[in-house]
Amino acid sequence: MGVFLIAAGLHSGVLSANAQSIRGRVLDATTQAPLAHANVVVADTRRGAATSADGGFAIDGLPPGTYLLAAQYVGYETALRTVEVVAGRTATVEFPLNPSPLAVEEIVVRAGMTEEELLTRARQSVATLGPDVLERTRGQTLGETLKQLPGVTTMQTGPSISKPVVRGLHSQRVVVLNAGVPQEGQQWGGEHAPEIDPFAPARIEVVKGAAGVEHGVGAIGGVIRVEPRVLPTTPGLGGRVDLNGFSNSRQGAGAVLIEGAPAQVEGFAWRAQASVRKAGDAHTPDYVIGNSAFEERNGALALGYQTARTGLKLYASRFATELGIYRGSHVNTLSGLRRAIDRDRPAVDYAFSYAIDAPKQSVTHDLVSLKGVHRLPRGDRLEVQYGIQRNHRQEFDAHRRGGDPLDEPAFDLTLNTHTLDAKWRLPPRRNAFGVVGLSGMNQANVNAESGYLIPNFRALTGGAFAHGTWIPGNWTLEAGARFDTRWMKAFPRADGAFERRTHAYRSLSGVVGGIWQFAPTWSVATNVATAWRPPSVNELYSYGVHHGTAQFEIGDATLSSERSIGVDATLRHVGDRVRLETSFYTNWMNDFIHLFPTRDTLVTIRGVFPAFQHQQAQAVLRGLDGHVEFDLRPAWAVGARASVVRGTNVAANMPLIGMPADRLVLHSTVRLFEGRRLRTSELRPELTLVRKQTRVPEGVDYAPPPAGYALVGVQYHADLQVGNTPLQVGLSIHNLFNTRYRDYLSRWRYYIDEPGRTLVVRVRIPFGTAASGG
């Protein structure tokens, strides 16, 4: 009879699909207390469930078969169970979870661990790039990689500098966390890209909107969280080699990663990685972009030690780049800028070269962080992270009075930053858990002997926050508050001498949010958050002509802090065949600091320049972004993602300058033949449509925004088995039709087109445990 039932179930799987189910409970292994809102996921499917208040869960409608189930809960080890589902019967399973011995990696409410979790955990719109997506884009700059997320665009300065723009905001309004430490470089510069090795991250998350409670001052526009790989826990030695080639700039890139956990020393693990990139001048469809070559040499080392209750992790990394700036963009007079715009292409026919000549940037960023985590017997978790960073930026102008421009930089800044963060995570009580924390930062910026752009300064920042989450039934409610204070002294120039000025700022951040899972596969999340930031040193003290824009920028030492109040609503659906996330947001910016043209022009020794002053006004940014993916067939999915931002200076009733144009990306993923050698392979064509930006303030810019454009790209990715080695091979073509275009947010759009067709080849060769373990 039993045999008959199984056979019947197999034959009529569809008909009896709802007859069988899995029921179970998730418990704390030691206390036997039920764990509510744990996630139970069926591996290899998109099915799953969250546990109710009594720790119970139910998954219905699975076809008969043998399944691997995983139960996950914050602060606990993930448990796996194999369950056999027999037609018409209810399988039961119990998951006693052990507290995780230690994850030095911060436990955050994060998306992407499972898609189910996304429905219940992410109060804000969070977009994640996991290892699979990162593999397909490996070798691109961080900004280019982030462009794949809805709501994120980039501000380009040629092929090597790309700065992420989150919902229209960037630079000092977006916090970048590198291995848990807030990255402190000279963020204020639009042509200063985040100093992050594109080979290093194993995952990247973008929190869109204000996140001031968790991340302190500056997290007005969003947070980009760049996480390296988790250290190995199983004994052995392994690693991988990555090789990339980009045809357009004849770029070669390679990375090596070796990691291990020696069997002799339990709890100890290490990883070392290094990467190099060398690119020559990029090509537009018609000409070479002179002096756009660049080089990068990066390395990182991680050591970890963990016991059942305590963990320590040391992370050290170096990022070093040298990059050429297109010579024709370095105009230092208004008439020169007008001539370059009128010319519409380079004045010189450049020949391809790998040489990096002036003007150029040379940047190194060193980071050392030490993190300690300790769990108290009651379940409290203490986390302390100390980070020290040194950012050294040298910029060489095209031209230097009295000598070779490469001999002496036009400016040479060293920014040293110490950060200390301490968090105390309270153990969950009933349906609630919380965290309190303290953080401090000490920052010093020093000019070298030659060159001047921003003054020397020292800034001390301190903050304290508390954040709580309560999960009654289908709801998740969160609230938090934070206080921060910053003291700064700066030494601006004053007629051959230096003045000492001090500034003090203090304010509050707050957040209230909720998620309502109104149906098993649907949720809606809403969030009201306020964050602030003090004016940055360039906004206070800049005074001079900005190369390439021919604007005389004037700071204002009396500027006050800027505050954002953001409201965000996100609808999510994670179904069997359709996945969807759409967010609407409004971000009111009080005292929004921006450059605004003054009525006067400034007479200088190099001619007359329009004067732009850092001013404050009420502004509002509204928009929507989202993505949808639809499985047409088991092996064929189509999808779209879109971003729309509207920025308005309310006080002047005019559009904000530099807002990203509307963007729509259509893509399709086709899984091709699979076999023993060629294990998986996937073809992914993509169409990017960008509208012309028509909402621009009048009479401010030198040239109208460029026309809209459409780009076609194709990606192919394959997992191969060559002998015992699993190889990953990728082949992609960007700008397939060699389309001539310019982007409104490109800082070189006045002078030249964007790069043309690029063929990218990627190979990943794992070895050791990485080759066998996958």
Binding site: L376, R401, F411, G451, Y452, F491, R493, D495, V603, G607
Partner: protein
């Protein structure tokens, strides 16, 4: 757990001392300065009337960012041909930049353009040359038409040719890098 308390205690001490370590501050700009630039802060034109050796001087003063602070008017007499020299200085560093330009004659050229009400009254001719025989403009003559009167400007432009070599018959529009471009008010009469 107890054996970790000393560890965290010493860690805390380390952090607090790092955060408070501000007594001897590296950000205070010292004697060597912090961020000095090769700027031209003062431009002076000196015109000599060869008939009586009388001179007319006019100085233009700029701040560290190059913004004009003051400029003196050049007052000229009709019918005189003046011998002119231009000198450049960085008053912040006490540097004579005229020497620098003089050392790099092949890479520099001045242009003098009479504009406005004096455009027909002045004739400027460059009298010095570089190693290729091309004009430099550290020395020049200004011929003031007899009987002329009025007021206008003298535009002074210094082109820097480090990107490409300087050629014969350079014009303001072909300058690859501009070091100087401003105007003196001029009166004739």
């Amino acid at each position: 757990m107890n054996r970790f308390i000393p560890f965290f205690r010493s860690l805390t001490f380390l952090f607090v001392s790092a955060l408070l370590f501000v007594a001897c501050d590296s950000t205070d700009p010292g004697e060597t300065g912090a961020g000095e630039e090769e700027v031209i802060s003062n431009v002076t034109i000196t015109l000599t009337n060869p008939a009586d050796n009388s001179t007319v001087t006019a100085e233009a003063v700029f701040d560290e960012a190059g913004v004009e602070q003051s400029v003196e008017t050049i007052a000229l007499t009709p019918g005189v041909t003046y011998d002119g020299v231009i000198t450049l200085r960085n008053r912040f560093e006490g540097e004579d930049i005229t020497e620098e330009v003089d050392d790099e004659r092949d890479e520099h050229q001045f242009f003098y353009v009479a504009q406005g009400g004096v455009s027909n009254a002045l004739t400027v001719a460059i009298t010095d040359t570089d190693s290729n025989g091309f004009p430099v403009g550290l020395a020049f003559t200004i011929e003031v038409t007899s009987g002329a009167s009025g007021s206008g400007d003298l535009r002074v432009v210094l082109g820097h040719y480090d990107e490409r070599p300087k050629e014969a018959n350079e014009t303001i529009d072909t300058i690859p890098e501009t070091d100087i471009d401003f105007t003196y008010p001029v009166t004739v009469g």
